[in-house]
Symmetry: C2
Subunit: 333 residues, 2 copies
């Protein structure tokens, strides 16, 4: 399998899961001190992850949790963000300009900032009240933080069982999904490598990853045009431009918004002959050991394991190395 | 001028502005009774308007104001939405299934619902705690509600002057913008009537209208493909797929997020030879009587007056009557 180092990947996920003690100490300190709001803030790919953390918590918690875009936080701001608020961020490079400014603003207000900054030596890491530096696995780190917050708020009684299952099975399960999806990924990449535009549809925790997959992978890395749309909004405009040849992919996860994606999946065959469903349920046998009721919280990791295989083959088929950027961080803007 | 009845349009806007007394009585009752959250809820075009109302208030108020999508409210829900919460909605037909279900859920929780339901006889109108039935002008009705909420919360001291200016000048100003934009609208429609895809970029209160213009007008009515993106996110992926021929339109308003759109406008000429800026400042002379500091709150109405002219010409050029739907409300889904 190209671009797949099973051992390295398993270690990466298990290393993230092993951050739990550190995350719990930080979240406990935040929880015990009290706060008037938890703000998941990002831009681009990290905004997508912030949206996922917020929607994951939204339906389950009484805690005041919000999502905002760093650039909007800098310009529009929010008078309800105070010195009792907590900003949670993630940054790989630690030098994304909007993130640096957002954290500066939070610091000026006197709020606490909990950052997952991959590069410990980045200045942004020093600007955080709490910082964990561990590479990749952004969504996992966010969801571990969300889980502890809800556990402390008495809203996640299955917390211990959940963590036991994840720590025992998640890393291998994701690797197994990736292996199982390799054939599909190759076929999909061959079919869609020259798409003039590709539509991606998702809902719930799948929405952030759908948005990010379209924008941060296909547009930014593969230079293929995309549009991403939430499943519910698909029916309020976008459906009109779908015809038999339109390439549409629907991501189906297992959280409470699954019915919204299922509605698109059920409708598409009536009007489209070029659609694909990527459904986490199809990979259930690789997720054994993880209880069905917990699978909604990892659906986006499962579909990411699938799309990793598309990306690996797409890069080769299109002879377009995904590290090249035309403009991003190469021009002034 | 095709599809333009100046007198009718002026009366429509002035009629909406004349709802102020009624809106104030309802908002005052809500404010005096107290609430734990104001939730702007919609789907499709009304979700776009809800996003606009929320971002308009976000930077100015300490009030707990939120935006949610009706389909997400039905599925994911929000434990913080209680019998002390207020849902604000708008619906033209009064029978959009997601809106009906969202209001049913709000009623079951015991929350108050303030609805602008154009058809007074719709069942949805009867399901609202407070209802105003007056056609069109959805965003204006929402912003009038937002303004009164902020005024009552001591956050809008210029409220009286603001309303005097709007009531004296807004209706004529928007008609004048439309007349001034007719030539541009025709030229733009001729140039872009066969676009394989058109990109629309916006920020702040322009974002909801950018999203809605792309989806509810070009996709749903003109059957032309679009992608809409917020100005800040343009730089985190989408820029990579823009080349000299890519059709990109940037909407520039005059609220606090204007710098985000200006950044895109300044960058585009470096990589794109097929871009258009629709800037409300270009229509300043038609907005005389409305103070510059209030123009951010009507920027989306100004750009709508401009895009109305594009739509009128596009419909004729493409010989595609905008009332036709291929699938929307014509198939089961």
């Amino acid at each position: 399998m190209i671009k797949f180092d099973e051992q390295k990947q398993i270690e990466s996920v298990n290393g993230a899961l092993a951050l739990r003690g550190e995350i719990e100490r930080i979240v406990d300190e935040i929880y015990d001190t009290g706060f008037d709001g938890i703000y998941w803030i990002g831009i681009g790919g990290t905004y997508a992850s912030a949206m996922q953390a917020e929607v994951y918590m939204r339906g389950k918690t009484k805690l005041p949790v919000y999502v905002d875009n760093a650039a909007q936080f800098i310009t529009t701001g929010n008078p309800r963000f105070t010195d009792k608020s907590v900003m949670i961020i993630s940054s790989v490079t630690g030098n994304t300009v909007e993130m640096v400014k957002a954290v500066e603003k939070a610091n000026a207000i006197g709020a606490r900032v909990f950052g997952f900054i991959d590069k410990a030596e980045a200045n942004l890491a020093k600007m955080c009240s709490y910082c964990i530096s561990y590479p990749a696995n952004e969504q996992l780190k966010f969801f571990m933080t969300a889980n502890r917050l809800m556990y402390r708020n008495g809203e996640f009684p299955e917390y211990d069982r959940y963590n036991k299952e994840m720590e025992a099975h998640l890393a291998q399960a994701l690797a197994d999904v990736e292996k199982a999806a390799d054939g599909f990924g190759k076929e999909f990449a061959m079919k869609h490598c020259e798409d003039p535009i590709h539509y991606f549809v998702g809902a719930g925790v799948q929405w952030g990853s759908t948005y990010s997959y379209a924008m941060c992978y296909w547009e930014e890395q593969h230079w293929i045009r995309t549009k991403s749309i939430t499943a519910e909004e698909f029916f309020h405009g976008m459906l009109e431009i779908v015809d038999k040849n339109t390439a549409v992919t629907v991501f189906l996860g297992e959280d409470e918004q699954r019915p919204l994606a299922e509605r698109v999946a059920a409708f598409l065959p009536k009007i489209c002959g070029n659609y694909t469903l990527i459904d986490t349920k199809d990979y259930a046998k690789h997720l054994e050991g993880i209880s069905p009721e917990f699978r909604g919280s990892i659906s986006h990791l499962v579909t990411h394991a699938v799309t990793q295989r598309i990306d690996a083959h797409m890069e080769l088929i299109n002879r377009h190395p995904v590290d090249i950027r035309r403009y991003y961080r190469r021009l002034d803007y």
